[in-house]
């Protein structure tokens, strides 16, 4: 029987669909029994799905300008 800890440890493989049918069945069986893990996996999945919208900390105009100047200096 899988434990909650196993559910968490295998959650990336589950979400990324790396499981065999047998693994999937064992995983679903635990989810069926355990509300905590159902909530976990739904939220974990949501996080991954929305990570694509994460904005990285932008760099300043000055930094970009500095990089451009160094690049051009090198290109002469």
């Amino acid at each position: 029987m899988l434990k909650c800890k196993d559910i968490a440890e295998q959650s990336s493989e589950f979400v990324d669909q790396q499981f065999s049918m047998k693994q999937k069945a064992a995983y679903f069986f635990h989810l069926l029994m355990c509300g905590q893990c159902r909530r976990y996996i739904q939220q974990f999945r949501l996080m991954i799905k929305q990570s694509k919208n994460l904005q990285q900390k932008p760099i300043s105009d000055e930094t970009a300008e500095k990089i451009l100047q160094q690049v051009k200096k090198h290109n002469k």
């Binding site: 434990k3 909650c4 800890k5 196993d6 968490a8 440890e9 959650s11 990336s12 493989e13 589950f14 979400v15 990324d16 669909q17 790396q18 679903f28 989810l31 069926l32 029994m33 509300g35 905590q36 893990c37 159902r38 909530r39 976990y40 996996i41 739904q42 939220q43 974990f44 999945r45 949501l46 996080m47 991954i48 799905k49 929305q50 990570s51 694509k52 919208n53 994460l54 904005q55 990285q56 900390k57 932008p58 760099i59 105009d61 930094t63 970009a64 300008e65 990089i67 451009l68 160094q70 690049v71 051009k72 090198h74 290109n75």
Partner: protein, 236 residues
């Protein structure tokens, strides 16, 4: 073994879960295509080494390139490697073949620069700074019998498809990301944020697929724990 009684609502939730998990989330839905991706006009300006277009490119990719370089050569050489990569990118833009996306091409150049720098500087690179940290935090989440040590906070969302990453949470996540071991940070950013394929991520970072999966999961789980904490306390 006697099965515990399963109430109908539980079955419904489970069925819903089976349905929603049946769809892979690797594909980028149309509406999520980042507004920063380049249009045809910008692309041709880039190929003519236009200043403005180049700065746009730098602003878009510099943080990712830095994460990529840091994960390979460490923070001591990361900045220099990226500067070097920008020189190469600039010089090669007129000959960009469009055989891959510009993004993938830019990553590849940076990764090659970092790898050759790694070979040159092997003696001077502090590898301990590149090693993943221990699993401690994650094992703390569970009790001795393998159950959750505390109950899972329900994340507050106005609607199921509402934005999880508010500006405040986004700042928090950027901070957490910057504290991750460089390789975990780079893998997460490349795979989950930038949506590169797993094989491109592995190639760019010179790691095996199994290593990548382990580190990607560690990064995700750590972020999950921080989002949970944020949801419970409103603090990062």
């Amino acid at each position: 073994m006697k099965l515990p009684f399963i109430s109908n609502p539980t079955l419904f939730i489970a069925a819903d879960l089976i349905y929603t998990t049946a769809q892979p989330i690797t594909a980028k839905p149309q509406y999520m295509i980042s507004p920063q991706e380049f249009d045809e006009a910008t692309l041709s300006a880039l190929m003519q080494q236009d200043d403005l277009a180049f700065k746009k490119l730098v602003k878009r990719y510099h943080p990712m390139l830095l994460a990529l370089a840091n994960s390979i050569v460490g923070e001591a050489f990361g900045e220099e490697v990226v500067q070097d990569a920008w020189i190469s990118i600039y010089q090669n833009l007129p000959g960009f073949q469009r055989k891959s996306s510009l993004k993938t091409w830019v990553y590849r150049i940076t990764s090659n620069k970092a790898i050759s720098r790694l070979r040159r500087e092997k003696k001077h690179i502090n590898f301990s700074s590149l090693q993943p940290e221990s699993y401690d935090r994650e094992t703390d989440c569970f009790d001795a019998s393998g159950h959750w040590a505390s109950s899972q906070a329900k994340w507050e969302m106005d609607q199921p498809d509402a934005q999880l990453f508010t500006q405040e949470l986004q700042d928090c996540i950027n901070h957490v990301l910057s504290q991750l071991p460089p390789l975990q940070q780079a893998i997460f950013m490349m795979n989950d944020v930038e949506g590169e394929s797993s094989s491109d991520t592995c190639n760019n970072l010179e790691i095996t697929a199994s290593n990548m999966r382990v580190l990607l999961h560690r990064a995700r789980f750590k972020l999950y724990s921080h989002i949970n904490h944020f949801q419970e306390t409103g603090e990062c």
